[in-house]
Structure formats: structure tokens, C-alpha cells
Amino acid sequence: MSLFCGLVKIKENAEIAPGIYRMMMECPEVAECAVPGQFIHIRCSDTHSPLLRRPISIAMADKSAGLIEIFYRVVGEGTGLLARKEKQDMLDIMGPLGRGFPLQPGLKLPIIVGGGIGMAPLLFLAKSLKENATSSDYCCRESFTGLAFAGFATEMEAFGMSFLEDCGFKVHICTDDGSMGYKGYPTDLLEKYLGGSIFLSSISTGEIAGAAGAPGCPATEAAMLPSAVYACGPEALLKKVKEIVSRAKVPAYLSLEQRMACGVGACLGCAVKSAGSGYLKVCKDGPVFEVNQVILSQETAP
């Protein structure tokens, strides 16, 4: 295990949407070994306020340039301090931490489902999926990498969509207020798609880049394609994804969030109920879990 902990230089920190920031840091050590789904643990202040580090997903790691990137939403004191950091400032980070998304070989149709700031780790995942795609993959033959259902509160808050398209994803944007794309949740579309009530080709929302080359395959065929769902977002979204994929019997991986202290599995603070006995730790056993490993809150044990 190669773990970095120390100061890194901020190369960029900009507000890309109201309250949402993108930060790029120079950290060859983390860039070298990070995998999609892993996080860095950031100390936002040099003082005791706030005291604890903040876990934030890695949204991109560029090995050759030695750069890593995160997206964060300003929600409190810690992220508020992060937002005030300037280019060239030094930042105390630890990472890469946790277990990321498994990139299964032979996966024919990856489906990404993200909500809000939860899109961040999925961008890194999308890039890796593209790089790992082989010519025998269904999607590759059809010259696309996979499907992405991305949900945001409103058009203003959407980010990373063109990046996903560049990675070869057919992107379907959903907004709560209907200001862009489908009005509703990304899980609505996932449900329709896996339920076979919509065709791959017909779920175009008009925002899809490369729609001309969109493959048209019958839903039944598409539903039988070996695929996996990768989800990150609010707990309500993850619960819905879990419900849908267990009905459709499609493998899925969820990236979870929990109040966290140490980030390395020592304090046992970030517990999530295990489908087996006891608790798993989001920082060390996760943050990415196979869907059947965990019981999300307010969900009754099977």
C-alpha cells in the first residue's frame, strides 16, 4: 500500500457552478496509484477549527502530469475554507484511501448513475472504463463506452457532462426542475431502461452527443447484455438504484458517504450496516461497495 500524507500545491480552484468547485492539485504520489472511487482526506484548516479532515472523492488522476482533481460542494465550515484557497496555496492531503470501483473485464455495458456532486468519482471511472474497453465489448463495437444517467437539481449545477461524452458515454441528463434534459431523477431512466420499457436508441433526450451513431438494439437484447451499474449520489438515489438492480438482477456498485474521522479504518467511526453481520467501514471497506454487501439506512435487513 502506498499512502501519501503531506502538503501539495493547488494548481487551480474555481467555482464551476453555484457552490460547486473544481480543485486541481499537484501530487504525483496520489496521481500514480489512485483508482476511480478512492478518496483523499483533506485538512481544511491549520487550526483546530474545523478539527477533522474532509473525505472527498478523486475526480481525476493524471499520472503523466502528476495532477489530481476533485469537485466539492460548499456545505459547511471545512468546504467553505477550501473554497477560499488560492492557486499556489499548499494543502494537507492524505491518500489515496479506500477501495474503488472494480473494473470488471468483459463488461459489455457499463451504466453510470450519478446525482449532483456524486458525479465526481464517476468521471474518473468513465475515463478508466474507456481506457479499459476492449474491441470485443458490445459498446466498443458500437463506438461508445456506456450509458450515463446524471441527475442535478437544475441546469446551472450540471458539470462534467461533456467530459463523459468525450469518454464515449451516451449521457442522459436529468434535472429536478426540468431546466435541462429529462425532468425527474436519473433512477427513473435507469428503471425504464433495465425494465425494458425503453430502447437504448430511444432514450435520447436531445442532449446526447453523437446521437447519430446511437446504437439501436431491442430492449430485451440490451437488458441481456452483461452490464453493471455504478452509482454515487444522495442516499435516496442509492437506495432506489439498489431496488432497481436487485429486481433487474444486474450487478451494481455503490459509492457511499458517512461521517468520518480517521479515514484509514482505525477509529471505526464511519460504519455502514453490513448485509452479513455487524458493520463495514466506509473509509476502508468502501467507499465503494457491491450492492448486496451493505444495508442502507431505513432499509430493513433481508
Binding site: 500500500m1 499512502l3 501519501f4 500524507c5 503531506g6 502538503l7 501539495v8 504520489e29 485538512r43 483546530h48 477549527s49 474545523p50 478539527l51 477533522l52 479532515r53 499548499m90 494537507d92 492524505m94 458517512q258 461521517r259 468520518m260 474521522a261 480517521c262 479515514g263 484509514v264 479504518g265 482505525a266 477509529c267 471505526l268 467511526g269 464511519c270 460504519a271 455502514v272 450496516k273 453481520s277 455487524g278 458493520y279 476502508k284 439506512s297
Partner: protein, 331 residues
Amino acid sequence: MDERFLNTGWNRYEVERAEKLQRQTDEVVFADISANICGIAMKNPVMVASGTFGFGEEYAGFYDISRLGAIVTKGLTLEPRCGNPPPRVYETPAGMLNSIGLENPGVEEFIRREWPRLCRLGIPVIANIDGDTVDDYYRMARRLSELDGLAAVEANISCPNVEKGGMAFGQYPESAYEAVKAVREGTNLPVIAKLSPNVTDIQKIAEAVVDAGADAVSLINTLQGMAIDIHTKKPLFCRTFAGLSGPAVKPVAVRMVWQVYETVKVPIIGMGGITSWRDAVEFILAGASAISVGTANFVDPFAPLKIISGLRQYMTNQGIKTLNEIIGAAH
């Protein structure tokens, strides 16, 4: 690169700074910071507090943990415990609340899975034990005595986050006496009693555990606190109350170390909000013969190492030759 800085987990800026400092100080004769707590010889007085360091493995990825004075394990119980439902941690001003609920693999699994690695570290390892009943304390102490190389047993009579046992024992002199007596009867190893700050008179508890045969005392465990979720309008933690730690509790901890030093003759392991060598010195001056780093591990994994070197530097600068010269010197 100076090989002393290999595998420290430091980045290039920190290594450069440390190398510069090292060049300046290579010629200096450093103060002796070795410590001895009831026969446990440590190369420095900096330990890590139970429950903040797991069984050491997690932090071994950052640095060579045998550089620590001693390691205290996560609290062990006779049977495995799955701990409390989430949320388990919550940040507070200059501190945090926790309600872990003693999640641990149980004493047998500890012996099977963790001990073989811990016993090879070459530094003292102290097993922290927590019982539901007096008999639990006795049985665990006896079982752990069979381990070859265990340095001591720390009787946790102060965990605020469990249904039975824990803090319930540590809040009254009589029950504190009973629990520690059981540990004493179960083992010939040094016995450390970990005291709760959630008491009216810590001096009475300290006297009781020393009467029961404790060779040393450690304090403080977490201060009982709580948080309320303003959205659900209910207590944030399932068990309503939780334990407060971090810099916020430091003044309370220093006061209690001071009081206990005035009361009993056994060595004190001081802890509670220590994040820097300055804090460590303060505890030592109040009467601690060694100190433990707890919550600070979560913020900065290298905190114990920085405290070790800062303490050595402080003593060297002040012309203090050994720790004994300053233990309790503020009295």
C-alpha cells in the same frame, strides 16, 4: 536523501525541511526522553490512546510504528462486539463526539489475528480491556497473561458508549475497586486503570483503583456529551450520549492529571486533547509520566512522531536531562 527520512510518508518539502534541521542538530547531544511506567520501559513517553489506533496496522502504512513509546490496543471485550449503529462520530468545536460502542473482534480473535504481528513490533503493547461484569475483567486479564510479551493490561472502566460495564464501573469508588481488583487477581502483568472524567471527585476513584492494586492510572477517557439533529429534532446518536475528545477537553484533562498526581503515588499516563509537544509538556508538568495521543492521530497521522521530536528538542533546549526532572514539576 537522508535515509532517516525514508518511509516517513513525508513529501519532498517536509523532507527538505527535516534534512536541514537534522544537519543543524546532528552535533547536539539530545536529552534522554526514555520513560518507565511501573516497569514498562519505553524509549519515549509518547503512546497512542486506545481506540484511536486500531491494532496499529492502519498507521503502519504511514510510518514505522515501532518508533512510538508504546501502543494501546482498541478496547477488547470477552466476546466480539459489533458496535453501535451509525452515526458514530460527529465533529464539534475543536473536538469530536464518538459513540463507537467498543466494536472489536473479542479477546480470542485478537490473540489469533492481531497479537502475532503486534508481539514482533519490539515496543511495549498494552491490551485495553472492558468488561460487562467483574468476572469479564478477571477472565480477560487471565487469558491475556498467557501471552508472551504483553507489556500490561489497561482496565477500561470508563467507556461511556456501552449498555453495561464501562463507565458504570468507573463512576463509583466501590465498583472501580471491584473491577480493578478482578484484573489484579487475573494477572501478574502491570495493571493500568483508565479513569473516567465523568465523576464528581476523580481523586476518590484514583485512590480506590490504587487500593485495588493498579500499578498506574491513565486519564482521561472521553467526556460525556451529546448532539441533537435539528432536522429530525432527535438526539444525533442512537445511544443519546457520546464521548467528547480532542483539543476541547485538554484543560479538563490537565486539571484531572494535576489532581490525581496530588493524590496517588503511582505513575500517570496523561491524555485528552494532546495535539502538539507543547500539550505533552503541559501534561508532564502536571504530573504525567507518559502521555497518549488520541484524536490527533485522525487529524495528523504523524502527530505522535512530531510530539516525540518536539519534546526531545524542548528538553534539550531547556537543559533538562531526563523526564523525571519535569514530571509534576508544576506542583
